[in-house]
């Protein structure tokens, strides 16, 4: 199997070769996190095939690596490297607005957790989990102010957003590189949504109305 490697740097335009493999909705000027997100979301439907690479630590500049297979390019697999500056200023600001300053600061704290943070178990925060959270801002720019959202790290490197709904029941929305998981204590439901179904995930979590979903 052929292996393709793509290194995206926010300050660097894509090489011409790569423009041809990106979908039309990704413009050459869209670099960095936004480009990666679009690429992951729509270009080759990579989300379902994503998996973490154990060799991540071999790339000190990278904060995340995604590997994909069965993409639109026949008989290929590939790797995406997200560099340390993946979350550019604009993305960071969107995330700060979405979560609020307090939760955004907490996110910074969670990024410090290293592998084994849960007494030997526990993966560090996967940068693509953060990108997944960032993707929600395309639908909901601000987390409803009447909910005080708390952030936790899941054992697999996902980002847990937890709050109490208006009736005092706990709701959890977990962002992972490939999916959203919603647990609602009031209904007892546990639902998993693919990354592209983020409207449904937000609706299931009670954060948007049915008309938007």
């Amino acid at each position: 199997m052929q292996t393709l490697e793509l290194v995206l740097e926010p300050t660097q335009d894509l090489k011409e070769d790569w423009q041809s493999v990106l979908s039309s909705d990704v413009q050459p000027q869209d670099v960095g996190a936004i480009q990666v997100r679009n690429f992951l979301d729509s270009s080759f439907n990579l989300n379902r095939n994503y998996r973490s690479l154990s060799s991540f630590n071999a790339y000190p500049q990278a904060i995340g690596i995604a590997q994909f297979s069965n993409c639109a390019i026949p008989s290929t697999s590939g790797i995406i490297f997200l560099k340390a500056s993946t979350l550019d200023d604009s993305s960071s600001e969107r995330l700060r607005l979405f979560l609020g300053q307090k939760a955004f600061d907490r996110l910074t704290e969670l990024k410090r957790a290293k592998a084994g943070w849960n007494l030997g178990e526990g993966q560090p925060l996967n940068p693509l989990s953060v990108v997944s959270c960032l993707n929600l801002t395309g639908i909901l720019s601000r987390f409803p102010s009447h909910f005080e959202v708390r952030l936790y790290l899941s054992e697999e490197g996902g980002l847990n957003l937890v709050w109490e709904n208006s009736r005092g029941f706990t709701v959890m929305l977990r962002c992972t590189p490939t999916s959203y998981l919603v647990l609602d204590q009031e209904t007892g439901s546990e639902q998993e949504f693919a990354s592209e179904d983020r409207e449904l995930a937000l609706f299931s979590a009670g954060l948007i109305s049915s008309s938007l979903a």
């Binding site: 307090k102 708390r150 054992e155 706990t170």
Partner: protein, 144 residues
């Protein structure tokens, strides 16, 4: 062939303690997935008392440093845990069909003689409700 020897189960009266690392504690509340895992690591307070257990937890988090700290701990009696899970299973058709149940096995290590594991796993939903229950019962302690 020692790996085939069944590990002893903890009896129902034994108190268990689970560490709460800082990524699982935020604004006075514990993450609902605190217990969600396969073979959930706990300590047996009968073997390692509270002080010793906390020292073991801190050591595991700090040597080498993991960028986190020990925020607190949760305690639960083995029998109480088993009953809680059994009661939850009654309300969940999927788990009920599978005849889901949990038990606690002693799993001592060289550096932690009190180590035990809740087997086979705690599901997301069980953990979610167990944390709420333990919070209400005052069995979650946050350290200063």
């Amino acid at each position: 062939m020692t790996e085939n020897v069944p590990r002893p189960r903890c009896n129902n009266e034994e108190d268990l303690i689970r560490a709460i690392p800082s990524p699982r504690y935020c604004n006075g509340r514990v993450s609902p997935d605190l217990f969600k895992s396969k073979a959930v690591s706990v300590n047996r307070l009968l073997i390692t008392d509270l002080k010793t257990s906390l020292e073991i937890f801190r050591s595991a988090l700090e040597k080498p440093a993991k960028g986190v700290s020990l925020s607190g701990y949760a305690t639960v009696q083995t029998g109480e845990l088993i009953k809680f899970v059994a009661d939850f299973v009654k309300t969940n058709s999927d788990l009920r069909k599978r005849g889901f149940t949990v038990w606690v096995e002693a799993a001592p290590t060289e550096s932690n003689q009190g180590h035990a594991e809740i087997m086979p796993n705690i599901t997301e939903a069980i953990s979610f409700n167990l944390v709420t229950y333990l919070e209400k019962e005052g069995k979650i302690v946050i350290l200063n």
